[in-house]
Structure formats: structure tokens, C-alpha cells
Symmetry: C3
Subunit: 372 residues, 3 copies
């Protein structure tokens, strides 16, 4: 991350300390010395500076240290520098600015004690990473759709306006609603045709990290972005409901590529906490593949599955989240620094051009002004 | 589901109430009013009724509400109606009749205290959905093979007759048998050649939801249907062993497509329970992919993994079942209605032609004559 | 396995009893009798010995028992014999000898109380099964790299020498290290260029079954073999830390195909324990796919996830391990014999040419000289 990079999380602008100032110069120089030593041995064996890069690479492929002569090392170094420059560029760009931000909390309008949320589904253009625009089908111009956050027992009305070229409907995934509010066309309701609207209204029956998404032509419609978080706070809270930081991380792998909350690295948003804070992360998989999420530096304690508290919280650093699943975890942010946080199916996170897709960072700040 | 659809579960014929009588007319009409309002605004902006559908669609692709004019809405509506008709047709056909029913309980013949089951493996034609015939390799003409259900400690003999064009063998997946009964050719027994038979005999060592399947050229043979449930009831029962309804749901994704108990939607069988009943579902994955099973309307409590009671039952609405795994769950059927129940890898469950593959329903009936 | 096959585990040579001596002759003869009986009926129906094999196969494909006449049975038998011979050959070759053995414990050099491990990363040729050589990128000429085994609280120095044609770096997956030891180029350190070295040094912060691997161009570099086990023994031990046998099983599915500890069946190494011993298996997935590991004959009790003890150990026979995950299980080796042990995504384990890839065996020996 560059000297001037800042971490934007809502209205907070968080300066990110550069690598240069954090890395131990002493260690790196010592390493350089060791490298020179080991290379000196190799060079002494086979000085053949006229070898072409291709020949040198064949030599390297022979799998012996002796084959690494001066020219092959120089050639490898040049190739490595070119590759590394691409990797560095991606990381320095993080968190990159893009148009649009999903998962923004939607404030309800009150109507005689009912919390009313309006969702308009329509086609938009969505920027998943700088300069990369994709067609999205979105609620209220956001991917993921706006975050709905209510409390167990509250009366809620969700009005869906369909401005899509297809029929649609909303399923409240995880909420144990009356059957006619379940959002499955031809089973629990008619499809909501293009140009029509439909009103869902119910008393919120159960707490937890739930989702809402299309349940009509859903492989396509959810893949294009018709999804969002539906968080229900419990009436009886526990220690976990008083996290210092509470984040939703929606995983997707549909038409928009590998995304966290609708964005691909380097446009993903970092999670930020201060040293000693408790961070709650609500993972939600709206994609078609598993994503084993790996956090560096600290473990995660799983406290809920599909919104239901687990009977015995368990620890992990790699949490396999399958399509449709949600997991709530707590992280005790006791290790300062900028920590890679990514899907461990490495093809979802890195190519020879650098990190992409399902990568973000957890930044644990020593104080309010700098990291680690 | 149509007015005349009936849910057949064994000998019970269960009338399924139609959507029309269940849907609130009042709500739908109110929705229509809202839709007209929102469309009126859009139409007023850009009246251009001469646009062709193609042009209209391009306009819609521009991603602005203003581009949705009268003709584009009409065009979208026509396209949506055509798509919806396909979706509706599939759901109205559910549960569709097909020839053949797998997982039927096989009654043993008693031989001096030994429960004897005969299984004949051979090629058959199998109807996975109406009119769709596939080659299957089946035990006793069923896919899945007949359900074997015995009790811990009983002596069991399974006689396998091989009428296939390949050798085969049976592995009792999950049973902790003596080594020579384990069913792995060249490791624990010779392959059973075409035309030959082989007899397995053992005292059932452990309780739980287990399976039997070919362990020879198994990627092909299991994929073609040589598999079945082997349920072992415990000698010491708990409350979970007295479920009101006890169902096996075998997931597969091999040569026959995405199936539940050998059938694809709309030919899958619904699960049916009365309001207030306890339903036990025994998931078994005999396929090559994970299938995160999502139940609408009620959560599932996981009580066993691979036949072993879990130390601390946990709740979920989406249960990720991997190849070879079994999970037993309990559902407290306290929410009346017809509930979608499907794999949440949406490509295994829905296309733009409607639902297919790994979709069924849990029907929770208010009384013995009608649903919800 | 052949009469002369031996199981090599380190310096122990374990004679493997042959199938022939273990199989009950009495049972097999009785089976032969049954087969003759059932075939006699079929043969009596349609004696037509002049049918060509092709015609016979078409007849068999018609899916009726009546089509299985004498010639089709003979033809099927010949085809089956040919297929079975391939299957037998693979199993008899197990455990096949190949050059190179990964996951060998690396003894540290002590430097003033610091345990020093040197890892040299370079290109090598690696034999995954007899005669099948692949390009590997390896630490110390091993795939997986050498096993590092230390104790919680010890001071450790890992010196990485990069003789690869690309930059690299080591991430200690699961260790909660200071940020600058986390091994992510451009986030926590500079990339280690070709020809350079880098030194990691830290006090081991947490116990458990962890891993080390490249975190630079990782989809490629880890796929090619830059990975290994980093086991941390706890300062306060429990009963599980005193297993009689303690094995690491690293799953991979990258450029080298489906492997256990860098080898494919029949070159995988069997796990060997004596009857009554407690076996601890540390599963680690360094691949890109899930691998549900199925053990025959005995169940596994999961005692740790990602190195962290689970609050309530649970039993299974099929354990789904996702990329980046580790699971520790205990097996009470109370069932003598040679037990198949494989990934239950059957395409990762068996083709019509026989078992391959992710297959090994657990051998539970009755005494020190023979099996079961």
C-alpha cells in the first residue's frame, strides 16, 4: 500500500502506514547478504554470460542449483521484477475507488408502527473494480442490495418495484415467515411482472444474519446482483451482540466475477478495527461455489450458523462457506497490522498478474491514526 | 401446483391446495395499483410506441429507469409471460408421475435368525422426469436401490447377483464390518464377475444412517445408480428415533443429472408432515459435488453426522452435504404450507426454463385433508 | 496386494498378507455355486453362441435380464476380466516405489537457543507415481516440503533461499505471528527475488496443525509444490497429544494431479498402526477443491479444526476438508485389516482403469508381523 493510500470506511479516513517504514531494514539487508553469498557459489560454478534467456530457463528447469548461472539469475530477476511490479501495483491501488457502494444500510420509513422498506429492482451498470463495468440487476442501484436491519418482533413491510425485463420475487432466506410471504413464484405467490410491484409484510419471526434475494430465474437473477443482507437483531442480546465493529461480507462468484460485497480486489473494502476491539463478521455466500475464507494473523470464533447461535463456539482461521450459508464469527483484534483476508481457493484470489477477486484486508490499528 | 395435483406418499393421497385460493387477492390488487403508478411516471417520460423490442431491450440495458417506456415494458411483459409460463408449467406438474420408484424398503427373508436381502444388479432404463429415460445400473430395478433397514446387533446376509456387463462389489459405507465384508475388490474380496453372485454376512456393528454402493469402477457404477440407503436402528433409542415422519433423501449428480432419490424436479417426491409433527430427514450424498440443502420456512436441527449422534445438535437452514457424507436432521413442522426445499447451488435447481433437478417441497399440512 | 508386497513406512518393512490367504475359500466357493445357478437360468433361455460381442453388448444395453444369454455373458466376462486386471495391477503395485519422499521431518540447527530451519525453493522433477515425472517447485527437493515440528513458545528462524525463476515468500498459515513475519509481499514484506534469501524469525505463538506455503503468485506456486506442514506441539498436552501414531496427510489437486503427500496411488504411502493403537491424522488441504476423506472400517473423531481443539469432538467416517483447512482426527484402531482410505469424490480416486490419485490404505496389524 502506498504512502498516500487511505482506508475509507464510511466517513472515516484511515491513513495506512507504508510497507517501507514497517519492514525491518536490518533484516532485509542481512537477507541480501545471504543471497549474494549463495549466488556467488552458483556463479562461480558456471560463468556463461552469453546464454540466452531461453537456454538459461531450460537450465533452471533441469532442477539443479548448479544450472543457475549469472545470466539465468539476471534473466529470472528481470522477469520476476516485471511480475512483481504488477503485483505491487494491485496492492498499492487497494482500496481502489469505484463508483457505487453496495450493502448500505437502508433506513425505513415508519407507517403506523410498521417499518417500510422500498426496493426497486432494475438493470444498472456496476463497477466491480476500477474501469470494469458489468451489467447488474440491482436493488436500489446497489450490489449487494441495501442492508435491511431490524429487530426480532418488529413489523416490517418490504415493497418491491420490478423495473426489470423479467418477472421476479423476493425470498427472505432464513426468515421463518408465513407461507405466502416466502417469495417463491407459483408456490407461494404470483411472479411480480415487469412494471408491477408487490408488498411483503410480516412480523419478524427470528433473529440472525439472514438474506433476501430473488427466487425467480434465480441462478441468473441472483448471479446478476439481486441479493442483500437482512439482519435481525435479537430481543435478548448476548455479549456477541455488542461487538465494537459489525461487518457483513457477502461472497459472490456469478456474472460479476469473484466479489466481496459486489467489489473485486483492489476495489474491495478493508475491514478496520482498533487494537483490542471485538469484530463481528457476518459471512453470507450468495454464489454457486464454496469459499473457504482465510484470515491472517488472528483466528475467528464461529458463534452462529445461518443466524442460529452455535451450541459450542469453535475456532478456525479458514471458514468454508457454502452457497446459501451464513456464518457469524468474532475476531478478537489483538494483533496489530494489515492482514490479508481472502478466499483460500487461490484461483479466486491471485493470478500471475497479482491479487484479484476475493481478497481484502483486516486492518487492526494500534491507535486512531496509524496501523501497527 | 394445480387444482388437481395430489401429493402421493406411499398409499396416502394428499390434495394440494392451489396457489389461487391461498394468495391474498387484496394484496395482489394493491400491488397492481402501485405498479401502475410507478409505470405511469416512466411512460410519461418517453412515449415511443414504435420502438422494436430489440431497440427497447437495448434501451433497458442502458440501466436507467427513464429508458423503460411503454413499448419496452410491454415487450418485457410479453417475454416475462412466456418465461413465467414455463416456470408455472413445471411447478403445476409437481409431483409428476414417472415409472419406477427407488428407495423402497426391502423386506428381508428370515433364514434361521438371519435377515436375508437379495440384490440383483443390472442395467435398466430409468425415468428421472416425465419422458426422460436414462440408462441406469440398478439394484432390484430401483434407483436408489431398495432401502435396507435393520437393527444394531442383528445378523444380516446380503446376496449380490451381478447381471451387469462389468464386475462389481458392494461396500457398506459407514458400517464397521470385518475386513473381508468391506467390499473393495482386490483389497478385501475378489471382484464379483458378470453372472456371478457374492454373499456378504455380518452382525450389524453400529447404528446410523449409512449407505451401500458399488466399490468397483465406482465413479461410473455409483454415478449410474448402484447405491442405496442402509439404515441401522439403534438398540438404545432416544427421542430422535421416534420421529413422526422419517425420510431418506439421497442426493446425486452423476449420469442421471441432479436428482433426489433418483428423480429430478418435477418428478421428485415431496416430503409431507402434519402440523406439529417431528420430521427426520436423512441426507446422503452419493454424488461428486457438494449440495447445500436449503429448507424454506423452518430450520433443521442437525442430530447426527455419518450416522453418529453429534455431541451438540446445531441449527441451520442450509446444510452443506459433501460426497459420501450423511446428515440426520430434525424439523419441527410448526409452519404450515408448501415449502421449497432445494440445493442452493442455484444452477442445480433452476434455469430460465424453470425449476429442475434438485428441487422438492416440504408440505406441512394443517390437517389430514389440506395444506396450510 | 501381491504376496511379496511390503508396506514401507520409514525404516519399518511391513509384510502385507495377501488377499488369497485372507479370503474365505468357503464363502467364495459358495458364491460360485450361486452364480452358476443364476447363470444356468439365463443360459437356458437364449442359447445363441454365435452372437458377436458387439451385438451382445447391444443386447445387454436393452436393459432386460432376458438379453443376457451365454455369449453376452461370456463377452461381458472377457471385458470384465480385462478391466479387472487393470484394477488388480494397480492395487498389487501398492505401495509403489517412486523417487523422492516429501514431508520428511526437518531437524533444526540450534543457534543460541533458536531453532534454525533452512528452506531452499527451486524447480525439480518429481515422481508422483511410477514413471510419471512432473515439474515441481519444491522446498529442499521435497513435495510437500519438509515437515517442521516445533513447540509452542520456542524461538524459530526459517531462512528461505529462493532459487526459483520467480519471486516468492512464505506465509505461515495458521500461526498468529507479528505482522512483518506474515509473508505477504507488498503487504508485510518485499518479495524475495530470484537468487535472494529472506529470514523469518519469531516465537511460536500458538499450537496446532499448521502449514507454510508460498503467498506470492500462490495459485501457481502452491499448486506446483511450495507447501509443507508446520506442526506446533502444545506446552500443555492432553491425551490426544500422546497418540501412538501421528501422521500428516496433505491433500493436493494442482499441477501434479490428485495427491496425498505429493504422491498418487499406487505410490501413496499407507498409514500403519497396530491393533489397539490410537492414530492421529492431521489432514491439510493445500489444493483448490474440497476433498471429503472417507475411511473404511473405523470412524474418525475430530479433535481439532485449523489447529484449535474443537469444544466437542465429533465422529464421522467422511470428513470434508476444504482448501486451507486442517482437521486433526483420532482413530481408535480396533478393526484389523487393510482399509481403503480415499477422497469420496470418486473421480479423484477411481477410473475404469482402476484406482488412482487420492487413494491410500490404513493398515491395522494384529501383531508386528502381519495384518489382520
Amino acid at each position: 500500500m502506498s504512502d498516500t493510500a487511505v482506508v475509507e470506511t464510511g466517513d472515516a479516513r484511515v491513513p495506512v502506514e507504508t510497507l517501507d517504514t514497517r519492514t525491518s531494514r536490518r533484516r532485509f539487508l542481512r537477507n541480501g547478504g545471504l543471497a549474494a553469498l549463495s549466488l556467488g557459489v552458483a556463479s562461480a560454478c558456471k560463468p556463461s554470460a552469453t546464454k540466452s534467456p531461453a537456454v538459461a530457463q531450460q537450465g533452471a528447469a533441469a532442477g539443479t542449483a548448479a544450472s543457475q548461472d549469472t545470466s539465468s539469475v539476471a534473466s529470472a530477476r528481470a522477469n520476476a521484477d516485471a511480475m512483481d511490479a504488477m503485483h505491487e501495483k494491485g496492492i498499492k491501488a487497494f482500496p481502489a475507488k469505484t463508483a457505487g457502494l453496495g450493502n448500505q444500510r437502508l433506513e425505513p420509513v415508519m407507517d403506523k408502527g410498521v417499518k417500510v422498506f422500498e426496493l426497486t429492482a432494475k438493470k444498472i451498470q456496476w463497477e466491480t473494480e476500477p474501469g470494469h463495468l458489468v451489467e447488474a440487476w440491482a436493488y436500489n442501484d446497489q450490489v449487494p442490495g441495501p442492508q435491511i436491519r431490524v429487530k426480532e418482533g418488529e413489523r416490517v413491510r418490504v415493497i418491491l418495484h420490478n423495473q426489470l425485463p423479467e418477472s421476479t420475487a423476493i425470498h427472505f432466506h432464513g426468515l421463518e415467515l408465513p407461507n405466502d410471504m416466502d417469495g417463491v413464484p407459483f408456490i407461494t405467490q404470483p411472479p411480480v411482472k415487469p412494471g408491477e410491484s408487490f408488498t411483503y409484510e410480516f412480523v419478524v419471526p427470528n433473529a440472525g444474519s439472514n438474506m433476501y434475494h430473488s427466487h425467480h430465474n434465480s441462478a441468473k437473477q441472483v448471479g446478476l446482483g439481486l441479493l442483500g443482507a437482512f439482519i435481525v437483531e435479537p430481543t435478548v442480546t448476548t455479549v456477541n451482540d455488542h461487538a465494537d465493529v459489525d461487518e457483513v461480507l457477502i461472497l459472490n462468484d456469478g456474472a460479476h466475477g469473484y466479489t466481496f460485497n459486489g467489489k473485486s480486489f483492489p476495489a474491495t473494502q478493508p475491514l478496520v478495527a482498533k487494537l483490542g476491539q471485538k469484530l463481528r463478521i457476518r459471512f453470507m455466500n450468495e454464489g454457486m461455489m464454496i469459499h473457504p475464507m482465510h484470515l491472517h494473523g488472528m483466528h475467528m470464533t464461529v458463534i452462529a450458523k445461518d443466524g442460529w447461535p452455535v451450541p459450542a463456539p469453535w475456532k478456525c482461521d479458514t471458514l468454508n462457506v457454502a452457497p446459501g450459508e451464513r456464518y457469524d464469527v468474532m475476531v478478537n483484534c489483538n494483533n496489530p497490522g494489515t492482514w490479508a483476508f481472502h478466499c483460500h481457493i487461490l484461483q479466486h484470489a491471485e493470478s500471475d498478474h497479482g491479487m484479484f477477486g476475493m481478497v481484502t484486508a483486516l486492518v487492526v490499528q494500534k491507535d486512531s491514526k496509524s496501523i501497527a
